[in-house]
């Protein structure tokens, strides 16, 4: 087994960034807890990792799954109070005191946010993300597209006003059309 196959410390900054990107103001999960718990779980389940496969993808997948589980658990514990955590909030319900990017990010679902961050911050390929999350590439693309469109609608709504063709509705309908997406595979 080659030593450089598992340089965990090297992936730690990226994992921490992903944790902070996943947890927003509305999420009842602390990013520091998420990182620590992910590492503890990785130690406990290390025998499940296949040597020779991508350790980084393994760690990020573990964090992603853990995050989704923690969200569900938190939603159960609060019996309905935060039950909408996996669903996007509208910009109107966002807390005051956050900047426009925070507010815009809050409008994304956990799945959309996760994929957007893996693509944008971690630079993973669509194919990598699809196999990590065990979903079709088309689903990755439609979630990514919707996430970006949603952020753009919130952040640039003033600039883009009066530009119906540039607005989201028509475009996101087009992206959820699978025949359109299969082109690139």
């Amino acid at each position: 087994m080659k030593k450089n196959e598992h340089q965990v410390l090297e992936h730690l900054p990226g994992l921490r960034r992903y944790a902070y990107a996943l947890c927003n103001h509305r999420t009842p999960i602390d990013p520091e807890d998420l990182v620590q718990e992910c590492l503890a779980r990785a130690i406990a389940r290390f025998s499940q990792w296949q040597p020779g496969t991508d350790l980084r993808a393994w760690l990020f997948t573990m964090m992603h799954n853990l995050f989704i589980n923690m969200l569900r658990k938190a939603a159960r514990e609060t019996t309905g109070n935060i039950s909408e955590t996996t669903e996007p909030a509208t910009a109107a319900t966002a807390d005051p005191g956050m900047d426009d990017l925070d507010k815009a990010l809050q409008t994304l679902s956990a799945d959309q946010r996760s994929i957007l961050m893996l693509v944008t911050l971690e630079g993973l390929t669509y194919q990598q993300i699809a196999s990590m999350l065990q979903i079709p590439v088309g689903t990755v693309m439609s979630r990514l597209s919707r996430a970006r469109q949603q952020l753009r609608d919130t952040l640039y709504q003033d600039e883009n006003r009066g530009d119906p063709t540039g607005n989201s509705k028509a475009k996101s309908n087009a992206t959820s059309n699978n025949s359109n997406i299969r082109y690139l595979k």
Binding site: R17, E32, L55, G123, Y126, S145, G166
Partner: protein, 260 residues
């Protein structure tokens, strides 16, 4: 002819994310020259990507908390040494645990302990030694304004906390303060007996899911003459520190745990 292939939504994203072949990239570039609305959209997407980097890259370059570094090193060690050596490491940690009075039943448990040690016990002992020896200003807000103190600390820790009443044991509350702990806020309450012997209770958030095995288990740690008794309840970790014999401090810890 490649020109006949329509540019899809996926192409536009792949172009933005640098996931297109050079040939296909040229095609998209030409398309964007002819479609200013798509071009504007992609520029706005690019600006959003940059803002996300600006927002979150600081996390990646900020210092990693000690507990996480340790966990990552353990993971790396487990990976480097393989499964057989992993058992050896666990055994070594267990032996180390026996020698130092720590319980290290497994690799994971020792990880948990090192987390509590680094983030709760040691900061609590340090804060104790700094503030109990301060004659002029041992607390930030004194016990006369207890309601204000509790409100302030609860607000900053983002959870409801209490200052236990230890008068039955001869210790009266002097007051308390807010303290920065490792990656969290902590609250310190200070108590004093009639002889001026001081004891502190240190409270901070610890993880919601971790330390299941430590739930409500009272553990002890000795450090340079100071004795620390600590436990966890829900998402909070508690540490009682004092320069006292174990029995007395144990009474204080049990009483505090009952009330918090």
């Amino acid at each position: 002819m490649t020109d006949e292939i329509p540019v899809t939504e996926t192409d536009l994203h792949a172009y933005l994310d640098g996931q297109l072949s050079p040939q296909r990239r040229q095609l998209v570039e030409r398309w964007l020259e002819q479609h200013p609305k798509d071009k504007l959209r992609i520029e706005q997407y690019r600006a959003i990507s940059q803002r996300l980097h600006q927002r979150f890259d600081t996390v990646a370059s900020s210092p990693v908390p000690f507990a996480q570094q340790q966990a990552a090193r353990t993971l790396q060690r487990v990976g480097t040494h393989g499964r057989l050596r992993r058992a050896v490491i666990a055994a070594a940690l267990f032996l180390f645990g026996i020698l130092t009075g720590w319980q290290a039943n497994s690799l994971l448990d020792s990880e948990t302990d090192s987390f509590m040690l680094a983030n709760l016990v040691k900061p609590a002992a340090f804060a104790h030694s700094i503030y109990t020896t301060d004659q002029s200003r041992p607390v930030e807000i004194d016990a006369q304004r207890q309601a204000q103190l509790i409100n302030w600390l609860s607000q900053r820790l983002r959870t409801r906390i209490k200052a236990p009443n230890l008068s039955a044991l001869g210790y009266r509350l002097i007051g308390g303060r807010l303290i920065p702990s490792t990656n969290r806020m902590a609250a310190q309450f200070m108590y004093e007996d009639p002889n001026g012997v001081r004891v502190t209770l240190y409270v901070r958030r610890v993880s919601r899911l971790r330390h299941k095995k430590l739930q409500d288990k009272l553990q002890h740690f000795n450090s340079a003459g100071l004795r620390v008794l600590f436990w966890r309840k829900g998402e909070l970790g508690f540490a009682v520190t004092g320069n006292l014999d174990r029995k007395t401090l144990n009474g204080i810890a049990v009483q505090s745990r009952r009330q918090t």
